[in-house]
Symmetry: C2
């Protein structure tokens, strides 16, 4: 299968979270390209403190995926109830809310069969604060974009957090290393396409906080998010 | 001027920090495309807590750029001395170290003339910890990549930090909003090209921490970083 050629800007605008994967491994050469692209991302002072620990079918992977799968199922069950995914419009099977819930359920139910799971880690060079993410999350984004460029897809999650201690024991991750994200990757069952976000004028300000940028227009036909379940309270913007 | 068409993976692998800008504004339509692409980035639960505050030539921008310029010059002067940029190979004007230092000096000296400065902000929905960056730094990376796709370039810095309080007063940024990064953007004086990183086998592990992934190969001709001045101590990897 030859991947389509994806133009850069188009790729940025059409890479969305993929949680339903085919039972198909990612070949070594595709993985090499994805992680090469991931590691080209910028970091503070070009320190490159990120490390990707890639889990496929080895003994570490099997044990870690089982642990993560249990954690993910628990996290999703709690979120599904807490955020009311089955209430309101979620009761209709073809509503956006119900479709998200179905994809999430499949994601966690089949987690152990996820073709590739990568732990994005950060070797600290100073204390951990909210800015350290600038040296690891751009690499995660490059990874997801590179996957898109090769016909794959994935999603970044934090649901490893409840089992962080056990996970690092299984995989010999040093105590001081920060596990910054879990990235699941594979061949999509569905497809990429335009993502839904808030109107760009609510997210981009001009010259002073809260003033919608008049030049911040959107391509015709751009579709917007409603407030997702459990979303942040509205703040700022016109 | 028509921008070249950049393929997604190639764009990921050839976007590097740009600090020398031509005296040339970024047109509204290019800015709109860049920030539209930036705001397509993923965030936790699709909350979209990021906001970009864009500084061009307005009254807020003029005052904020002047404040930032002073801070950037102080930060660079301290880093230049502390990290020994003028010592060793830095004494030779054509060494990589000296070229980086010259670009940095020009960047801070001309900071007020930077065509576009964007503050990447985050409206907190919970306490700030090292994971919140997963909902703002991917958008910053999309912004830098989109700039690349349109023939522009930029760099992400944290040198607003010493003047954070004064900056938010000038721009009316609410106290609880986290200013996560300053992104400078413009038309490059130089050009993009292959970035230099550590060998990918030092950054990508397979199945257990510290085991270099055997499949993590690099394209022929890939050039590697030496340890940059002030870099993190070596850790992990083969």
């Amino acid at each position: 299968m030859t991947a389509e050629v994806v133009e850069l800007i188009e790729g940025l605008c059409t890479t969305r979270a993929i949680r339903r994967f085919r039972d198909e491994p990612i070949p070594d050469d595709a993985l090499a390209t994805m992680f090469f692209a991931a590691t080209r991302a910028p970091t503070g002072s070009n320190r490159q403190p990120f490390r990707f620990l890639v889990l496929r079918d080895g003994p570490g992977a099997v044990e870690a995926k089982a642990l993560l799968g249990r954690s993910f199922r628990e996290q999703w069950a709690a979120k599904r109830a807490h955020d009311g995914y089955d209430a309101g419009s979620g009761a209709a099977a073809d509503s956006p809310k119900a479709r998200v819930a179905a994809a999430m359920q499949q994601f966690v139910d089949r987690f152990e069969r996820t073709p590739v799971v990568a732990l994005a880690c950060l070797v600290p060079w100073r204390g951990l604060d909210p800015t350290v993410g600038a040296s690891v999350y751009p690499a995660c984004q490059n990874l997801l974009l590179a996957a898109r460029g090769l016909g794959y897809g994935g999603v970044l999650t934090m649901w490893h957090a409840p089992v962080d201690a056990e996970l690092r024991r299984i995989l010999a991750v040093p105590d001081d290393v920060f596990i910054a994200a879990t990235v699941a990757l594979g061949r999509p069952e569905g497809h990429h396409g335009p993502v839904r976000r808030r109107p760009v004028g609510e997210l981009v300000f001009d010259d002073v906080w809260g003033r919608a940028a008049p030049w911040a227009t959107e391509p015709p036909g751009t579709r917007h998010t409603g407030r997702p379940p459990g979303a942040v309270t509205d703040r700022g913007g016109a």
